[in-house]
C-alpha cells in the first residue's frame, strides 16, 4: 500500500507504465529479430530454407544443418578443430594477460601519485577517443618490423594494452579505501603482494568486466592482415569462408552464426551484475 502511494508521489502513472512496457517490447523484438531468425534458420530443413514466399519461423525443426557443418569441417584443408583451438587459445591467453597487465597499471595509477602518473592517464583517456582503424596500417608495419607477422603474438599482445580496460579498472580501483593498502604495507607486504592479495580480490567486478570486453573482441578477431598461414587462422575467418560458399550454405551459415553468438552472450549473462557494478564508476570526471 505504502509503496503504491510513494510511486504516485514520484510522478509515475499507470498509463505511463503501460507505454514504457509497450515501447520496450516493440523495440526488444526489433533487437532480437536477427537472432531469432538465425536460430530458426539453423533448424530449418532444406526445403523450408528455400520455400517461396519465405517463412520466418521453422515448421519441422531438424539438426541437418549442424550435421552438414560437421561434414564441411571434416573436409576442410586444415582440421576444423585447429581454427577452434586458435580462437580459444588467443582468447584465453590474450584475456588473461590483458586483465593482469591492465590491472597492474590501473592499480598504481589509481592509488599512488608519482611524476608522470597524471599525464599517462590523460593519454590513455585520449586513446579511448579514436578507434583501432586509425592505427591499423602502422600496426602492420610495426608487426612486420618485430617479425610477428604469421605468429600468435600479433593477435595476442596488442590486447595487453587495451586502453578501455585500464580506464575502467582505474576508475573502479579509486573506490578502494587507502587504509586497506596502508595496513598491508605496514604489515610488510610489498607492492606485488598488495596488488595480488588485496587489490585483485577486491576488484573482481572490474576485471570480470575487462574479461568480457576482451573475450568479445578476441573471440571475434579475424586478424586476417597479420596471418597468412592457414594453420594460424581463427574461427571467425573459417566461418566467413563457410558463409562465402553462397546461398546453398544458408542453413549451415545460420548454424555457424548461432554457435558464434552463444559464447559472448552467455558470458555476458553470467557476469552482468559485475559489469554493472564496474560501469557505475566508469564516468569521466571533469
Amino acid at each position: 500500500m505504502a509503496r503504491v502511494k510513494k510511486t504516485k508521489k514520484l510522478g509515475r502513472s499507470l498509463a505511463g507504465n503501460i507505454l514504457i512496457y509497450g515501447v520496450l517490447v516493440l523495440f526488444g523484438l526489433f533487437m532480437l529479430m536477427p537472432m531469432i531468425y538465425a536460430i530458426n534458420s539453423a533448424f530449418k530443413p532444406l526445403d523450408e530454407l528455400f520455400v517461396f514466399p519465405p517463412k520466418f519461423f521453422v515448421q519441422n525443426p531438424t539438426l541437418d544443418n549442424f550435421a552438414d557443418l560437421n561434414t564441411i569441417m571434416s573436409q576442410s584443408w586444415v582440421p576444423f578443430s585447429r581454427y577452434l583451438f586458435n580462437t580459444v587459445f588467443i582468447t584465453a591467453v590474450g584475456t588473461a594477460g590483458c586483465v593482469v597487465i591492465t590491472s597492474m597499471a590501473a592499480f598504481v595509477l589509481a592509488k599512488f601519485k608519482f611524476p608522470g602518473s597524471k599525464i599517462i592517464f590523460r593519454i590513455v583517456t585520449t586513446a579511448l577517443m579514436f578507434s583501432g582503424y586509425v592505427t591499423q596500417i602502422p600496426n602492420y608495419l610495426i608487426m612486420a618490423k618485430l617479425g610477428w607477422i604469421d605468429t600468435y603474438l600479433a593477435m595476442i599482445v596488442p590486447a595487453f594494452g587495451m586502453p578501455l580496460g585500464l580506464f575502467l579498472t582505474k576508475q573502479y580501483m579509486e573506490n578502494i579505501p587507502d587504509a586497506l593498502i596502508e595496513a598491508a604495507r605496514l604489515d610488510g607486504a610489498n607492492l606485488w603482494k598488495v596488488f595480488w592479495k588485496i587489490i585483485m580480490p577486491n576488484t573482481r567486478p572490474a576485471w570480470l568486466t575487462v574479461t568480457i570486453l576482451s573475450v568479445q573482441a578476441l573471440w571475434n578477431s579475424k586478424a586476417i592482415q597479420y596471418i597468412h598461414s592457414e594453420d594460424l587462422k581463427t574461427l571467425p575467418y573459417a566461418l566467413q569462408q563457410i558463409l562465402g560458399g553462397g546461398v546453398s550454405r544458408t542453413g549451415v551459415g545460420s548454424a555457424v552464426t548461432v554457435i558464434m553468438m552463444i559464447v559472448p552472450i552467455v558470458t555476458f549473462i553470467m557476469s552482468q551484475r559485475s559489469i554493472t557494478e564496474t560501469m557505475a564508476s566508469s564516468g569521466i570526471k571533469e
Partner: protein, 329 residues
C-alpha cells in the same frame, strides 16, 4: 639595478627549477616500483596505440609503397585527398552522414532505453539489458540483415512489402545507391547500444532514490523535470564516457558497410573513410596516402570528442534540486 634584480629573479627561478627537478628525480627514484608495474602496459600501449599515430602522421607527408623507402612529398597527399579524390569526398560525406545520425540517435537511444529499463523490476530488468545489449556483442549476426534485406523477392522485407501491396517489384536494398545508406544506418543503429548503454544502466542504478523524493518535495512536478534536474546532473561522468564511446564507434563504421553493401559498393555509394583507408592501405599499398586518410580520421575523432564534451558540461544547468535543498530559509 633593475637588470640585477631581474638577474637575481632569473637565478632564483633557475635555482627553484633545479630544486624541483632534483625533487622530481628523487620522487621518481622512490616510485621505481610504480614504474615497474606500469611498464608492461606502457610498452604495449606505446607500441600499438601511440607509436602508430605518430608513424601515421609522419608517413602522411610521404609517398610510400612498402617496396621503396618513403619519399617526402609534403602536403601532396592531403591536397590530392581533398581536391582530386572524388571517392574520398563521397566517403567523407557518408561517414559524416552516418556519424551525425547514428552518433546522436544511438547515444540518445542508449540513454532512453537505459532509463526505461531502469524502471523495471529486477529480473525483467536483467533480461531487458541482455536483449538490448545483445546485438552489439553477438559477432557477425548483423550479416543476417543481409538476408532480411536481400534484393530479390526471397528477401523478407521485400516479401513483406509486396504482400502488403506497398511495392510490386523487389527493391534492391543493398545494391541500389538510393537505398543503401538508409538500410546501413538502420543496421548500425541496431548495434549501437554498446558499452555506453551499460554505463548508463549502472549510472541510473546508482542514483539515490531519496534524492528524487526530496526533489519532489522541493517542487519537481513530473518525470521530465526529475530527469533534467536530478537524474542527468548526477550521471554527468557516465554521459561523458558514453559520448566518447558513441563518437568513436560512429566514425569507425566499416565492417558493416563492407559486409552488407559489398566492397567496393555500387558507385562507391556506401564508401566510408575507413573503407577508403582500407582500400589504399591493404589493396593498393599506397601507405602514405592511407596514412593521410588515417590522420584526417584521427583528428576528426579527437575534435568531435572534445567538442561534445564541452557541450555536455551544460547539462542540467538552471536548477538546484540536486542536493535536496533548493531554498534557504
Amino acid at each position: 639595478m633593475k637588470s640585477e634584480k631581474e638577474k637575481s629573479g632569473a637565478s632564483k627561478y633557475f635555482a627553484q627549477l633545479k630544486f624541483d627537478m632534483k625533487l622530481t628525480r628523487k620522487k621518481m627514484k622512490e616510485s621505481r616500483g610504480m614504474y615497474l608495474f606500469l611498464l608492461p602496459f606502457l610498452l604495449v600501449f606505446t607500441a600499438f596505440y601511440i607509436l602508430p599515430v605518430v608513424i601515421s602522421i609522419f608517413y602522411s607527408f610521404t609517398y610510400y609503397n612498402i617496396l621503396e623507402s618513403p619519399r617526402w612529398i609534403g602536403l601532396q597527399n592531403y591536397i590530392n585527398l581533398f581536391l582530386a579524390d572524388d571517392v574520398f569526398l563521397t566517403a567523407i560525406k557518408n561517414t559524416f552522414l552516418i556519424a551525425v545520425i547514428t552518433g546522436p540517435v544511438g547515444y540518445l537511444a542508449s540513454f532512453v532505453f537505459a532509463w526505461l529499463i531502469n524502471e523495471l523490476p529486477r529480473t525483467i530488468r536483467a533480461i531487458a539489458v541482455t536483449v538490448f545489449y545483445a546485438p552489439s556483442i553477438s559477432g557477425q549476426v548483423y550479416l543476417i540483415w543481409g538476408i532480411l534485406f536481400s534484393g530479390d523477392s526471397y528477401g523478407y522485407i521485400n516479401a513483406l512489402l509486396m504482400d502488403l501491396g506497398i511495392t510490386d517489384k523487389a527493391i534492391k536494398w543493398l545494391t541500389d545507391p538510393d537505398y543503401m545508406m538508409p538500410v546501413l544506418i538502420i543496421v548500425i543503429l541496431w548495434m549501437s547500444l554498446g558499452t555506453g548503454f551499460l554505463a548508463f544502466i549502472a549510472g541510473l542504478q546508482g542514483i539515490d532514490k531519496t534524492q528524487i523524493e526530496a526533489g519532489y518535495v522541493d517542487g519537481i512536478k513530473n518525470r521530465w523535470q526529475e530527469l533534467w534536474y536530478i537524474v542527468l546532473p548526477s550521471m554527468k561522468p557516465m554521459l561523458l564516457f558514453g559520448a566518447v564511446m558513441a563518437i568513436t564507434q560512429s566514425f569507425g563504421v566499416a565492417d558493416v558497410t563492407m559486409a552488407l553493401a559489398g566492397f567496393p559498393s555500387t558507385d562507391y555509394a556506401a564508401r566510408t573513410v575507413v573503407t577508403h583507408l582500407y582500400d589504399y592501405g591493404t589493396v593498393r599499398f599506397d601507405m602514405g596516402y592511407a596514412s593521410a586518410i588515417a590522420t584526417v580520421l584521427f583528428i576528426t575523432m579527437i575534435l568531435c570528442n572534445k567538442g561534445v564534451q564541452k557541450l555536455l558540461k551544460g547539462v542540467g544547468k538552471g536548477g538546484n534540486y540536486r542536493h535536496g535543498k533548493s531554498k534557504e530559509d
